[in-house]
């Protein structure tokens, strides 16, 4: 359950960045590369628990998965990787070999894990207008 350690880091690094941003945080959007070994459900559960009592207490965690892109130095291919297993399905795993020539590839994206944005509820205007 290393997701708790990850979410702990997420909250610790995000709270200081929110200090200058007023308003209630309603959602935290995280981009997660498909090569990361992290369970979405475990991340969400950890966030629910660890955000309690902080400014993120009423926010929900939204995971946006990023598909792997690989680059090949041998044949200059750049694009989607080959997949192992249930191709196109939930459990398919990117294979780090060039789909065109078979050489070793580098990962262009697919390993990222970052907070992309937060959604802030706007405060009610002082005259009580409709939001």
């Amino acid at each position: 359950m290393h997701e708790y350690a990850v979410v702990d880091e997420l909250i610790a690094s995000l709270l200081p960045r929110l200090e200058t941003i007023p308003g209630e945080v309603s959602a935290v959007f995280v981009r997660k590369g498909e090569l990361r070994i992290l369970s979405d459900r475990a991340l969400e559960n950890a966030f629910d628990l660890l955000s309690r009592g902080t400014r993120l207490g009423s926010a929900r965690l939204v995971i946006e998965n990023v598909v792997a892109v690989v680059g090949c130095a041998a044949c200059s291919y750049q694009g989607a990787s080959k997949y192992y297993g249930d191709e196109g399905g939930h459990s398919a795993i990117p294979v780090l070999a060039c789909p065109r020539c078979g050489a070793v590839v580098s990962v262009v994206c697919g390993r990222e894990l970052y907070v992309d944005r937060v959604a802030i509820k706007d405060d009610a205007p002082p005259w009580g207008g409709v939001q």
Binding site: M1, H2, A5, V6, E9, L10, S13, R17, I21, S26, F29, V30, R31, L35, R36, I37, L38, Y84, G85, S91, I93, P94, V95, L96, A97, G102, V104, E112, L113, Y114, V115, D116, R117, V118, A119, I120, K121, D122
Partner: protein, 221 residues
């Protein structure tokens, strides 16, 4: 409702920075370092014990960081083989992290070491997201866990370029064909290297060490 965007700084950025600092520290001391990951009971400790003996017979000074959730059994085994060792108890944590390794490095006489092995907690999932700052990484599994281990943990094998399948002497007894593990790994990671070992008897250990960049020449060990 409005969105506030951030620059894409990695959530584990602090860990990555610490891992980078560990890497630099080890390089500055001229230490070659290897993380050893793997399943519980796969033979990580036995493999490192063998490596300690082998590398010491080649005149290299070996250090170890022994991580377990509790106890110091592995640490004692490494000391008994002549390594300079530090014991780390991760308690309820299922993996080592770069911060813990940094503290462990403070307790090692780095100027007196040539090689460092970092044995992670037995676990095939969690350690993968926490780089420690070592130069190389190997994953150890054994035939007694079944011939479907690679298929069950494809992500970690897709990203590991050196895998050890240990206890091959027990393959027939547990009805496992090690070649299935080899074939699955080749499908998931066509460029990775896989070595079949019987670490207890020393078989295959030289091949692993050679792939890690330690070609052994001394035949008496």
């Amino acid at each position: 409702m409005h969105d506030v965007r951030f620059k894409g700084e990695d959530i584990l950025g602090r860990q990555l920075e610490l891992a980078e600092a560990n890497y630099k520290k080890l390089r500055e001391h001229g230490i070659r370092s290897v993380s050893v990951l793997g399943a519980i009971g796969s033979g990580k400790t036995t493999l490192i014990e063998r490596a300690i003996v082998r590398l010491r017979s080649e005149g290299l000074r070996v250090g170890t960081i022994a991580a377990d959730s509790a106890g110091d059994d592995d640490h004692r085994r490494f000391l008994a083989k002549g390594a300079c060792s530090v014991n780390v108890n991760t308690q309820d944590d299922c993996h080592l992290d770069a911060h813990t390794v940094d503290h462990a490095l403070d307790d090692l006489p780095l100027s007196e070491l040539d090689v460092l092995f970092v044995e992670n907690v037995g676990n095939l999932i969690c350690p993968a997201d926490f780089p420690l700052g070592t130069e190389r990484e190997i994953v150890v599994i054994s035939v007694t866990e079944g011939d479907d281990m690679v298929r069950k943990h494809p992500k970690i094998f897709a990203q590991t370029d050196l895998v050890v399948v240990n206890k091959v002497d027990l393959a027939a007894a547990v009805g496992v064909d090690p070649q299935r593990l080899v074939a699955d790994y080749a499908a998931i990671n066509p460029h990775g290297k896989i070595v079949l070992t019987e670490a207890k008897g020393g078989r295959g250990v030289d091949e692993v060490l050679a792939l890690l960049g330690f070609p052994c020449t001394n035949t008496q060990w």
